[in-house]
C-alpha cells in the first residue's frame, strides 16, 4: 500500500505522540515495517542501519514485552542496546527525572526509548536531551508504537484501515493504548468505538471523535475489529469495577458477545492478557485472534520507527 499524503515520509526527530501524525507519515512507517516484517522472517535478520549507534531503553516502569521488542528491534538494526530499569535504581535514590535524563545524555546515546508512569514525562525528557526520543508509554497518555503495530496488524489482515469499524473495549480511561489507537485509527479513516462501563470512560469521551458504548453487545455490533484492553487488577476490586466476575459478565469478550461482531472480525489484545477477566481463554486462542501477530508486528514497527529516525540522526 502506497501513501498519497503530502507528508509522505516520517522525518521527525522524536516519536512522542500519535496525536499529530499524518496519514502519510503513518503509511510510510507501516510500509517500512512491512519490509522489516519480511526481513524478520529470514534466517539472517541482522541489518546495519544503526551500526555504531547507541540505543538506551530507559524504563521507569516495569515492562517485558515492549522493552524486549525494542531491544530486539535495535539489535536487528545493528545498534548497541542498553537496558536501564530505573524503577530499580536512581529513582529510588531520589534522583529527579531531569537529572537522570541529563546523566544519560552525557553518555551520548543516539536514541532513547522511554517509558514512564507519568503522562507527559517523556515529552519533558525529550526537551532536555540531545538525542532522539521514542515514547514507549507515558502514563495514560500515549504508546505510539503500540498503535502503529496495531494498525500494521489490521492493514496486513484486512488490506486496509479506512472504513473499518474498530471497537476498543475495556479500561479506556487509564489506557495509553486506547488513546494512541484512537489517534491513529481516526487519522487512517476507521470508525472508532469505545466500549466500557462509565467508570472506566474519560469524561466527555465522545469529544475524542469516537462513538461511546456502555453496552458491549451494542458496541460490538457489526465491528470489523474487536480490540480488548487489559484491566489492571487494582481497578477491579470495587473502586471502578465491582469484581472480576461482574466485569467478565458484562465486559469480558466471550463467544456470545463476539457473535455480534462481523463473522470475520479480528480479535486483538495488546497484552498481557487476563484470561477470564477481559477475554475468554478460548477466544484468546481463536482462529480470528491476531494477538500473536501483534507481537510479531511489534518488532517490525519498532524497527521501522528506529530506521526512520536513524535517517534524521546527525552524521557528525
Amino acid at each position: 500500500m502506497t501513501s498519497s499524503s503530502p507528508q509522505a515520509s516520517f522525518t521527525r526527530r522524536h516519536l512522542l505522540t500519535c496525536g499529530d501524525l499524518t496519514a502519510g507519515e503513518i503509511n510510510a512507517l507501516l510500509d517500512l515495517a512491512d519490509k522489516a516484517a519480511e526481513s524478520n522472517r529470514q534466517i539472517n535478520k541482522k541489518r546495519e542501519v544503526l551500526r555504531g549507534r547507541t540505543l538506551i531503553n530507559l524504563f521507569f516502569e516495569a515492562s517485558t514485552r515492549t522493552q524486549s521488542s525494542f531491544e530486539l528491534a535495535g539489535k536487528r538494526l545493528g545498534a548497541d542496546v542498553m537496558n536501564m530499569n530505573v524503577s530499580a535504581s536512581s529513582m529510588q535514590k531520589g534522583e529527579t527525572l531531569i537529572d537522570t535524563a541529563m546523566t544519560l545524555n552525557a553518555m551520548r546515546p543516539d536514541i532513547l526509548v522511554v517509558r514512564h508512569h507519568a503522562a507527559g514525562a517523556v515529552e519533558l525528557l525529550a526537551q532536555k536531551v540531545d538525542c532522539s526520543v521514542v515514547n514507549a508509554g507515558d502514563g495514560a497518555h500515549q504508546h505510539p508504537t503500540q498503535a502503529l503495530l496495531d494498525a500494521l496488524t489490521i492493514r496486513r489482515a484486512k488490506g486496509r484501515i479506512a472504513g473499518l469499524t474498530v471497537a476498543i473495549c475495556g479500561d479506556i480511561m487509564h489506557s495509553r493504548v486506547a488513546r494512541s489507537n484512537i489517534n491513529v485509527l481516526n487519522t487512517m479513516g476507521a470508525r472508532v468505538r469505545v466500549v466500557a462501563p462509565s467508570t472506566l470512560l474519560p469524561p466527555q469521551a465522545e469529544r475524542l471523535g469516537i462513538e461511546v458504548f456502555t453496552d458491549m453487545a451494542a458496541g460490538l455490533d457489526g465491528a470489523d475489529i474487536v480490540m480488548m484492553l487489559r484491566l489492571q487488577r487494582e481497578r477491579m476490586q470495587g473502586s471502578y469495577v465491582p469484581s472480576t466476575r461482574e466485569y467478565y459478565h458484562f465486559f469480558g469478550l466471550d463467544h456470545e458477545k463476539l457473535a455480534r461482531a462481523k463473522p470475520d472480525a479480528l480479535i486483538m489484545h495488546p497484552g498481557p492478557m487476563n484470561r477470564g477477566v477481559e477475554i475468554a481463554s478460548t477466544i484468546a486462542d481463536h482462529s480470528r485472534s491476531v494477538i500473536r501477530d501483534q507481537v510479531e508486528m511489534g518488532v517490525a514497527v519498532r524497527m521501522a520507527v528506529l530506521e526512520a529516525m536513524a535517517r534524521q540522526l546527525p552524521n557528525r
Partner: protein, 441 residues
C-alpha cells in the same frame, strides 16, 4: 419477588366500592373484578352487579385502592430473627395495608452478594404473605468503600441499591457508584447524614436537646450530604433517591434539583410527617430515630412538600428493635421504630387533620414508589396485579402493642388513637388479611 395468583384461584368481585386510583386521580363509585391474580375489570358497571360465579365482597362504600408499597423496611432476617423475620414483617405489613415491602440490606450478613439476594427471595417466597423485594447494598458490607456487583445483583432481582442506614462519606466512592449504576439504569437510594457530624449525636440539636441535656446534631448534617449528592448526580447522570429527608432546608435542595430536571427524588418517613422532637418528652427511646425527629416547622414543611409532590414517597422505615436495644437511657438506646401496621393509619391523621388531601397522600405510598422501582402495582388498572386494600377511612381504633403483629413492639404510636382502618388486604388476588376475622374472631 411477586406473589403469584394461581390459575385455580376463585374470582372475586368487589361491589359498591369507592374506587380510589392515585395513578389517575380518579375517585368514584364502582366495582372491581379480580381474576387470576390481576385486576380483570373495573368501573361503574360493576358497582352493583357481579359476574356469575365469583366471590362477592360488599365494600359498603369504603375505599378500595391499590395496596401500599413501602420502600424502606428493615427486618432481622438473616441474623437478628428475634427482632423480626420476613414472615412476621409480612403479617404486620398485610395488617397495615402494605402489599409490597422492600427490605433493606442492613442484616447480618449484609445483603451484598447475589447468593444473599437469592436467599431473601426464597425465604420470602416460602414465608411471606406480601410481595417482598430486595434493596441490595451498594458497597460491600455497607462500609462505603468498595462497590458491590450492581449488575449481577440487579439480574438476581435486586430492585435498587442503598447504603442502608449509613451515608457514604467517601465522595469518590459515591460518584463511582452513581456512575456505574447509571449504565444499568439502577436506582441509588441514599441515607443522607454526614457520619462525622452525627457522631455521638442522639437527637436534633436545638432547644429541646439543650433542655434534655442530650447531644444533638444540626440538620445541616443532612443537607450537606444531600447537596453533595445532587452535585454528583449532575456530574454522573445516575438515578438518585434520598431515602428519607427530615428538614425544610433539604427540601429546598430537592426543589432546585427537580427544577433542573435532574433524576432526583426523595422520601420521608411517616414518623417525620406526624411527629416532632417534642414527642421525645421524658426520654422516650421509641422516638429516637435516624434521622432524628425535628422541629414542628420542619414537620409541617415536609407535609406541605408532600402535598405539592416535591416529596415523592412515604416510607414506614419499619425498624424493629427489642428491649435489649431500646430499654436503655435515651443516649444509649438504638435508633428506630416499627411502622408497617400503623403506616396508613398514621398517614390518615394528616388527611383527617386537613393537612393534605387523600390523593397526594396515597400517591406517595402507591404509584410513586411503583414508578420509581419499576413495579406494575400501585394502580387500579386492568391487567395490574390485584394488590388491593379496602379501607374504612373513618373507623376509630387504638394502637395496642398486644395486638401488634410485628415481632418487636417499638412503636411510637403505642396507645395512640387512630382513625382509619384496613378492612381487607389482597395480594395477587389472595386475601392475606381481613379485619373482621382477625380482630372480631
Amino acid at each position: 419477588m411477586r406473589k403469584n395468583g394461581t390459575a385455580t384461584q376463585e374470582a372475586t368481585t368487589f361491589l359498591n366500592a369507592r374506587l380510589v386510583d392515585p395513578a389517575t386521580g380518579k375517585d368514584e363509585p364502582g366495582g372491581l373484578l379480580v381474576k387470576d391474580g390481576v385486576i380483570a375489570e373495573l368501573g361503574g358497571h360493576l358497582r352493583r352487579n357481579a359476574p356469575d360465579r365469583t366471590r362477592i365482597i360488599d365494600c359498603r362504600g369504603h375505599v378500595l385502592c391499590p395496596g401500599l408499597i413501602d420502600m424502606q423496611v428493615f427486618t432481622g432476617e438473616p441474623g437478628q430473627e428475634h427482632r423480626e423475620t420476613l414472615k412476621t414483617a409480612s403479617h404486620a405489613a398485610a395488617a397495615g395495608g402494605v402489599t409490597t415491602m422492600v427490605v433493606m440490606p442492613d442484616t447480618e450478613p449484609v445483603i451484598d452478594q447475589v447468593a444473599l439476594v437469592d436467599f431473601i427471595q426464597r425465604r420470602a417466597r416460602d414465608n411471606a404473605i406480601v410481595n417482598v423485594h430486595v434493596m441490595a447494598a451498594m458497597t460491600r458490607g455497607l462500609k462505603g468503600q468498595e462497590m458491590t456487583e450492581i449488575g449481577l445483583l440487579q439480574r438476581a432481582g435486586a430492585i435498587a441499591f442503598t447504603n442502608g442506614k449509613s451515608s457514604v462519606a467517601n465522595t469518590r466512592v459515591m460518584r463511582n457508584v452513581l456512575l456505574y449504576a447509571k449504565d444499568f439504569g439502577a436506582l441509588i437510594v441514599h441515607h443522607t447524614e454526614d457520619p462525622h457530624l452525627t457522631e455521638g449525636a442522639v437527637m436534633n440539636s436545638g432547644e429541646v436537646a439543650a433542655r434534655l441535656g442530650l447531644p444533638g446534631v444540626d440538620k445541616a448534617a443532612e443537607t450537606i450530604v444531600l447537596e453533595r449528592d445532587v452535585r454528583l448526580v449532575q456530574m454522573t447522570g445516575g438515578r438518585y433517591h434520598a431515602a428519607q429527608l427530615s428538614c425544610a432546608e433539604s427540601l429546598a435542595v430537592i426543589r432546585a434539583a427537580k427544577a433542573r430536571q435532574l433524576p432526583v427524588t426523595c422520601g420521608v418517613s411517616i414518623n417525620h410527617l406526624t411527629l416532632n422532637e417534642n414527642d421525645i418528652g421524658p426520654y422516650r427511646t421509641f422516638f429516637r430515630l435516624k434521622p432524628p425527629l425535628r422541629a414542628e416547622q420542619d414537620r409541617s414543611a415536609m407535609v406541605q412538600a408532600l402535598a405539592t409532590g416535591e416529596i415523592d414517597v412515604i416510607v414506614s422505615s419499619h425498624d424493629p428493635q427489642d428491649a435489649d436495644t431500646k430499654r436503655h437511657p435515651f443516649a444509649e438506646a438504638a435508633d428506630g421504630a416499627i411502622g408497617l401496621e400503623t403506616l396508613l393509619a398514621a398517614a390518615l391523621r394528616l388527611y383527617h387533620g386537613g393537612e393534605i388531601g387523600l390523593m397526594p397522600l396515597l400517591r406517595a405510598m402507591t404509584i410513586h414508589p411503583a414508578r420509581l422501582l419499576g413495579l406494575p402495582s400501585g394502580r387500579l388498572e386492568k391487567g395490574a396485579p390485584a394488590d388491593l386494600i379496602l379501607v374504612d377511612l373513618g373507623q376509630p381504633w387504638v394502637v395496642d402493642k398486644a395486638q401488634i403483629r410485628a415481632r418487636s413492639k417499638n412503636s411510637p404510636f403505642d396507645e395512640s388513637k387512630m382513625q382509619g382502618r384496613v378492612l381487607l388486604t389482597m395480594v395477587a388476588g389472595n386475601r392475606v388479611y381481613e379485619y373482621a376475622s382477625a380482630e372480631r374472631g
